[in-house]
Amino acid sequence: MQEDLWFTMGKIPARLPAGILYAKNHMWARPETGLNGNGLFRHGFTHYAILLMKDVYFLEWNISEGDPVSQSQEIGHIETSKAESGLYCPAAGTLVRFNAALLNDPSAINTDGYGAGWLFDLDAPETGYMNAEQYLKFLSDNWEKTQAMLKGKMNQIEDDES
């Protein structure tokens, strides 16, 4: 068992389990084996994302299970105690299923974000996801810009594609 990594946001540590993958939109992805094979990943919010959002009040998907999706496509909407956001698909593929349990009560996202709070399964042949070390570096490299963005200076920020 590999050690978890931690990213410190100000004073608050965000846990990044080793051994799973991470997308730039702050979702984790865990390969699902045994079903139709190679490209199926379970996705959820990283602890980092959850710390920014705080308590999830409302989660809504605007596509259906089985729909083809493109990368960055808006697939849903989330409202939390501190934030609201569109939800975007981290990779192109087919949205296989949503976590139905969350639609009645999304609190599992907060209580068990890397487990029962998973969001959806996506069949994606190519992902370009990062491992935990790479995600940790991605977070550190962008933390300053992220803080600036949270302060509403959105127009000054270039998308980081590095």
Binding site: K11, S72, K82, E84, S85, K151, G152, Q156
Partner: protein, 342 residues
Amino acid sequence: MSKGKLTVVISQAPGKNPAKRALEENLAASLLMEPGIELSIIPHLYDLGPDHTGRLFLESIPGDMVVLAWLFPRAAFWLLDRDGIRGTEGQSPLHPKAEKDDEDADEPPPEKAPGIGPVGEIPDRTIWCLDLRDHAGHQIYLEEIRRIGAEAALLREGRQAAKQATKPPAVITLGLPTQKKPAPEFTPETLLAPPSRRWYPVIDYSRCTNCMECLDFCLFGVYGVDGLDRILVENQDSCKKGCPACSRVCPEQAIIFPDYKSAAIAGAPVGNIGGLKIDLSKLFGGEDPMVVAAQERDRELVRDGRDAVGLAVGIPKRQTDKPKGPRDELDSLVDALDSLDI
């Protein structure tokens, strides 16, 4: 509107949501029994066109009023202002201005960059706007209306005293008194004639700085300027249904689409940490708001048989090193995220 009575107006939710109707009806029933209250019910405020009886009725109310609507109070207040139904915005504990943590309770409120404010003279009366989405039961609204009733009575006394102190010289009118415009008939039926849905922006002049970015951005002729070169929503019905793009472009969050799904655009109270949400879309993989705004605008242009213009027209080029103006509640709100009291 007899003397000493408080006018209370319930603005119904569009559609037939039974839970919303029930709240409206329960509240109406208890207000009818309430002394000192003059109650009227009108359709959804946002949908009332200039000729709707409900709107004429609102215009005819001379004194203080309470408007209960399925809208954020800020949206309702500036919507009324645009329609010429004006006054001072009444404060209500039902929609706290800022829901701050106690730790910074001692700090003075941050300086707010002043908007240009409403144009012209504001009549000496108060308009309280309450959001019917805040609570499911009618009792809390009833109690708040009672509290407002008491506050309004005090305000009335104050005004009377002021008037007495500065009594104007008596004017003797000679000849026939001028004919007053006959008031239209305000029956429940005409008041509640169902309007069709409308879609247009509402400017919050307490935030608007008259920067004209909305005028440059909108290519549908919705915005114009008045005789004093102040921005205004000139042609409400030229606006494209469902398109909130100009609101994303506004640097002061002064443009409200009261029926839009996201709270920040629908006029959530600025400074209310519980109400106004930080938009994390960009962090979670969404596009820059300017890009989204341009896409929304292009969609409407193409629908009109015009050419899409993308980011080429009317996109503000903000200076990144612009000196910072005085801080306002919205700035402190985002600062609050900084400390992330998790």
